[in-house]
């Protein structure tokens, strides 16, 4: 029977959770890198035992670890994330120019086909690539030197590149999203980039439908429909059906369209999930009830999923990288909370159960299905 492995990054270490295909009983290993802030742990689709972990901290900076045995042992790889010159400036919160300064890696995205290839999304927003298993990182500087980049301004969480999607069909196409610059697409393997923010409207910026400046929280794609992307923006849930050429809002009957994660069902390209939270000033779920909302129509019509989730006195948040879906026949969905719980559903979200309750605040969740 297939196994399932959850990779959980937290404020104080990484955890690996494993189960069989029933996904009822789980073993927890960790903390790995105890005390380090683990923004992301991700596995290679080409070699599921090759894992990558981004560990950082205010004291000692950024390091990257790699495992070649599914998380049993880890070794440090290179962590020299240097901006290619000229470095230049971007805007600071107060609207003044400030030099780009590397702070941390938010997201690691392994190649779908080559276990030695991995992309890294950084704060301040830039994209790096390693083609030798992490021995060396090279900036794909065409993004950070885009003509619009001097106008990018950090969101509250920092000027972070948090989403990297590698098109499963067109190997030269990459999508990224940056808070608070927007979404971007490359059609030449990351050499050149174009903003793809037409249709986004953000009342919090000077020009609400500007080419850049939108606070995109997360993008999601179904592998069989790579031209359709879903977006959770600071406010609004949106979709595009032309690879970002234009977006339309699909928030529909959501109780609030503010949130961070968005995910697509593994087998139903029109079934998507979000976790609405009260507002940008109250970063917790509404009315003390933890509810995942599911749309089976690609947006507009949404239903709350509540079975097995706390429906009173709950005031947690779910961060942008903290939701994942598996590819088993009955799709499994997982998310981690700022309260240290990891919840899982093995029936497409109809019912949920806590897998583990008392981890440090969860920053990221990824899932692998093992043979």
């Amino acid at each position: 029977m297939s196994g399932v492995r959850l990779l959980v990054g937290t404020r104080k270490g990484a955890f690996v959770l494993t189960s069989d295909g029933k996904r009822q009983d789980w073993e927890v290993s960790g903390p790995h890198f105890a005390g380090w802030e683990i923004y992301h742990v991700n596995g290679s689709p080409a070699d599921p035992d090759r894992l990558w972990a981004s560990a950082s901290g205010g004291w000692f900076g950024q390091v990257i670890h790699r495992s070649d045995d599914g998380g049993t042992t880890w070794r440090q790889v290179d962590h020299d994330f240097t901006y290619q010159p000229p470095v230049g400036d971007h805007l600071w919160y107060d609207g003044t120019p400030r030099p780009w300064e590397f702070k941390r890696i938010w997201h690691l995205e392994p190649s779908r086909t080559d276990p030695d290839v991995v992309y890294a999304g950084a704060e301040d927003a830039s994209l790096y690539k390693s083609t030798d298993g992490g021995q060396k990182w090279v900036e794909l500087a065409g993004l950070r030197t885009h003509v619009s980049a001097p106008k990018w301004q950090p969101g509250a969480g920092g000027l972070c590149l948090h989403t990297i999607i590698l098109d499963p069909v067109n190997k030269d196409r990459i999508f990224v999203a940056i808070s608070a610059a927007g979404a971007f697409r490359s059609d030449d393997g990351g050499v050149s980039w174009q903003p793809i923010n037409r249709g986004l409207v953000s009342e919090g910026i000077a020009d609400p439908d500007a080419e850049v400046g939108h606070c995109v929280h997360r993008l999601a794609m179904h592998p069989s429909r790579p031209d359709t992307l879903f977006m959770q923006k600071h406010w609004d849930v949106l979709r595009t059906d032309d690879a970002g050429g234009s977006w339309r809002e699909v928030s529909g009957n959501l109780p609030t369209d503010f949130g961070f994660p968005i995910a697509v069902h593994a087998h139903e390209p029109e079934t998507i999930y979000v976790v609405p939270i009260t507002s940008d000033s109250l970063h917790y779920v509404m009315d003390g009830k933890l509810r995942v909302y599911r749309s089976r129509t690609g947006g507009e019509q949404w239903e709350p999923l509540t079975v097995g989730l706390p429906q009173e006195n709950c005031y947690v948040n779910v961060l942008r990288d903290a939701m994942a879906v598996d590819t088993l026949d009955e799709c499994g969905i997982y998310f981690g909370t700022s309260g240290g719980q990891v919840y899982g559903s093995s029936d497409s979200g109809d019912s949920w159960r806590p897998i583990v309750r008392d981890l440090p605040p969860v920053l990221s969740v990824e899932v692998q299905v093992l043979p």
Binding site: F33, G35, W59, F60, Q62, V63, Q76, H79, D80, T82
Partner: protein
Amino acid sequence: MIRVILPPHLRTLASVGREVQVEVSGAVTQRTVLDAVEREYPMLLGTMRDRESGRRRALVRFFACEEDLSNESPDAELPDRVIKGEEPFMVVGAMAGG
């Protein structure tokens, strides 16, 4: 040999105990000691000082002989007792919340 005490997070990275010893030829300064530590334990590159500028990371401090040497010149000689190996050069994560 120069004795160097590392903070717990860096001991984990370098897979070492509390104290390491490094050989320094020539003047024994913050810079030459840290150069030697990084040479011996390259996984620590960038964790104590910025890799580009060489400046001490903001929340890392250097102590020796009950003195805070964090803001001394990186090229100033370290105290005699450190040079003789009687006292360790201490790399410390600054006290802070969280």
